[in-house]
Amino acid sequence: MTTNRDEVSVVNLLPPALAEGVIAAKSGEVPELLVKTDRIAEICEYLASSPDLSFNYLVNLTAVDWINYFELVYHLHSIRHGRMIAIKARVDHDNPVAPSVARIWDAARFQERETYDLFGISFNGHPDLRRILLYDEFVGHPLRKDYNLPREEISQQLR
C-alpha cells in the first residue's frame, strides 16, 4: 500500500481525528485503508453513517493468517453511491482481540462469530461471541496456519 494517504480521496472525507487512525491507504477501483486496530469501530461507524460515504452494506468480514499477525478484512459497499471500500486491520497473533462492528452492521454478528471460531480472534463488544460452525467443545482454531493436526490427534479429540 502507498503511504501517501492523502492521495486516496476517501481518507480526505474522514474527520482529522479519524484520519489519524488510518495507517496506510491504496487507491483503485476498490480503495483500501489499513487502520489501527483499536480505531476500527469508530472509523467504520463514520463510514457507515456519514452521508457522503454511506457505506451501509457490509459485504464481507473475514481474516487472513499471515503467521506473524492476523489481518482482518472488511469489505463495505455504499448502496447510495454505488462504490466499495476495503478496510484492513492487523491483529496480534498472541493476543488476537479487535473491536466488534456488530452494532453498526448486524451482518457482522455471524461473520465475526465465524472469524472467532476459525481463527480465534475475539471481538470486544460482540453481543454473542461463540463458535458458529464447529461444535462448542472443539479445541483449536482450524484456519490458523499452524493448525495441521495429524489425523490420529483429530480422532482422539472426537472420542
Partner: protein
C-alpha cells in the same frame, strides 16, 4: 348428570393455569430445514419466543481445503457449496481467480457463462419455490411440477458438463466445454415450454387463498433491517430495494441484456415467493437474448494447469440465485491460494433468522425460514 358435572369440576383445579416455555429442537434432521439446519426454538405455547440457529452439521472445511488444492482443483470443491446452484458458485470462484491473475475471458465464454448461469437461476428458483410450497403444506404437487422443469435444465447441464449436480463447468478463463448445437436447440425448447409451466404453477399458488393468508404480512423484513443484516438476492429485493449485482456491477455481458430487476413491496413471505417467480421470467428473457447474441470464438483462454497468479488478492461479487456470492482469494504467488474465503449468501441471509422468527407461530416460522431459501452447503462450507 348433575352429579357427573360436579365430579368433573372437583377434578379440574381452579385458578390460573400454569404455563411454561418449552425448548423445542428443530432439526438438524428435519424435512423442512433445507438441509441440516438446527434451530433451537423456545416456545410459549405455539408462539416462537426465541430462535437460536445452530450450524456446522455440514461443515467440511472448504476454506482450509482450498489452501491445499490448486486454483483449478478448487473449482470442483466450489460445486459442493451451494449444491442446488453449483454453476453460480463456480462462476464466482473463477471470476475471483481471473481478477487475481489478470486472465482475459473470451466473449463467447462470457455469453456461455450468462446462458448457463441464468439457466441455473431458473433451476434453483424452481427448487426454492417447490420446497417453499412443501413447507406451506401444498404437499409435493407444485414441487414435482417444478422439478419436472428443473429436470429439463439438469438434462441441459448434463449435455455440456456430464453431471447433474456438481458440474465443475467453469474454468479460470472460460468454461470447460463449448455449447453444442443440440444444447442450443434443447434450450430453445425449454424457453418455449417454461413460461407455460410457470403459468400453471402460478395458477396453483399465486392467487391461492390459503397461500395468501399464510404468507401475506407474515415474516416481514423491513428494508433497513435487511440492509443491516447484509441480506442479498431475492430476500433483499422483496423488501423493496432494486439491488441486483447484474445491474449494479454490470459484470460479464449483462450490460448488453435487457431485463428488469424484480422487487417486492413489503418484504413479507409472499413477496419473497413472488420475486422468485418473476425472476424466473426475467432469466428466461436473458437466456433468449444471450442465445441470439452468442458470438463464435474460443470458449476458454488457454492456461497452464498449475498457473501461479501474482501476489495479491481479489474479491468477486456475483448475483447468485440466493444472493451475493463472493470469493475473497489471497495469493502468495504459489499454485494454491493462500486464503480462499466464500462470502456465502445463505450464511449471511440466515443472520436475520432469530429476529425473523420471533413472534411467529411455529407453522409460520417454518414458512418464513423456507422463504429465505437457505442451502446449508454454503452456510457451513
Amino acid at each position: 348428570m348433575g352429579e357427573t358435572t360436579h365430579q368433573i369440576e372437583q377434578a379440574i383445579p381452579t385458578g390460573r393455569i400454569e404455563t411454561e416455555r418449552i425448548i423445542v429442537n428443530m432439526g438438524p434432521h428435519h424435512p423442512s430445514t433445507h438441509g441440516v439446519l438446527r434451530i433451537v426454538l423456545t416456545l410459549d405455547g405455539e408462539t416462537v419466543v426465541d430462535a437460536d440457529p445452530v450450524f456446522g452439521y455440514l461443515h467440511r472445511g472448504f476454506e482450509k481445503l482450498c489452501e491445499e488444492g490448486t486454483y483449478l482443483q478448487n473449482v470442483s470443491l466450489t460445486d459442493r457449496l451451494d449444491y442446488l446452484a453449483a454453476m453460480t458458485n463456480n462462476w464466482a470462484y473463477v471470476t475471483a481467480v481471473e481478477k487475481l491473475a489478470g486472465i482475459e475471458v473470451p466473449e463467447r465464454a462470457e455469453y456461455i457463462r450468462v446462458i448457463v448461469g441464468e439457466l441455473q437461476r431458473v433451476a434453483s428458483h424452481c427448487a426454492a419455490i417447490g420446497f417453499f410450497g412443501n413447507d406451506i403444506g401444498t404437499s409435493f404437487t407444485p414441487l414435482m411440477w417444478l422439478f419436472r422443469d428443473r429436470e429439463m435444465v439438469l438434462d441441459l447441464f448434463e449435455m455440456i458438463s456430464g453431471a447433474r449436480m456438481t458440474y465443475n463447468y467453469y474454468r479460470p478463463g472460460g468454461v470447460a466445454a463449448d455449447l453444442t448445437p443440440e444444447f442450443i436447440a434443447e434450450t430453445r425448447k425449454f424457453l418455449a415450454h417454461m413460461p407455460h409451466s410457470l403459468d400453471e404453477i402460478e395458477g396453483l399458488l399465486t392467487g391461492n387463498e390459503i397461500v395468501l393468508s399464510r404468507c401475506k404480512k407474515i415474516g416481514v423484513i423491513p428494508l433497513n433491517r435487511a440492509i443491516s443484516y447484509g441480506l442479498s438476492g431475492p430476500n433483499l429485493r422483496a423488501s423493496g430495494l432494486a439491488f441486483d449485482l447484474r445491474k449494479v456491477l454490470g459484470y460479464s455481458v449483462y450490460p448488453r441484456m435487457q431485463f428488469d430487476v424484480v422487487t417486492g413491496t413489503v418484504g413479507d413471505t409472499f413477496d419473497r415467493y413472488i420475486v422468485r417467480v418473476r425472476e424466473i421470467r426475467e432469466s428466461l428473457k436473458i437466456i433468449e437474448q444471450a442465445i441470439e447474441q452468442l458470438p463464435p470464438g474460443e470458449f476458454c483462454t488457454k492456461l497452464p494447469i498449475n498457473f501461479r497468479p501474482p501476489v495479491g488478492e481479489a474479491l468477486s461479487r456475483i448475483e447468485g440465485p440466493r444472493g451475493e456470492i463472493g470469493f475473497y482469494i489471497v495469493s502468495d504467488g504459489s499454485i494454491a491460494p493462500y486464503r480462499c474465503h466464500q462470502r456465502a449468501p445463505s450464511f449471511i441471509n440466515l443472520g436475520i433468522i432469530s429476529e425473523l422468527l420471533k413472534g411467529l407461530k411455529v407453522a409460520d416460522a417454518v414458512v418464513a425460514l423456507a422463504s429465505l431459501d437457505p442451502v446449508m452447503g454454503e452456510v457451513d462450507r
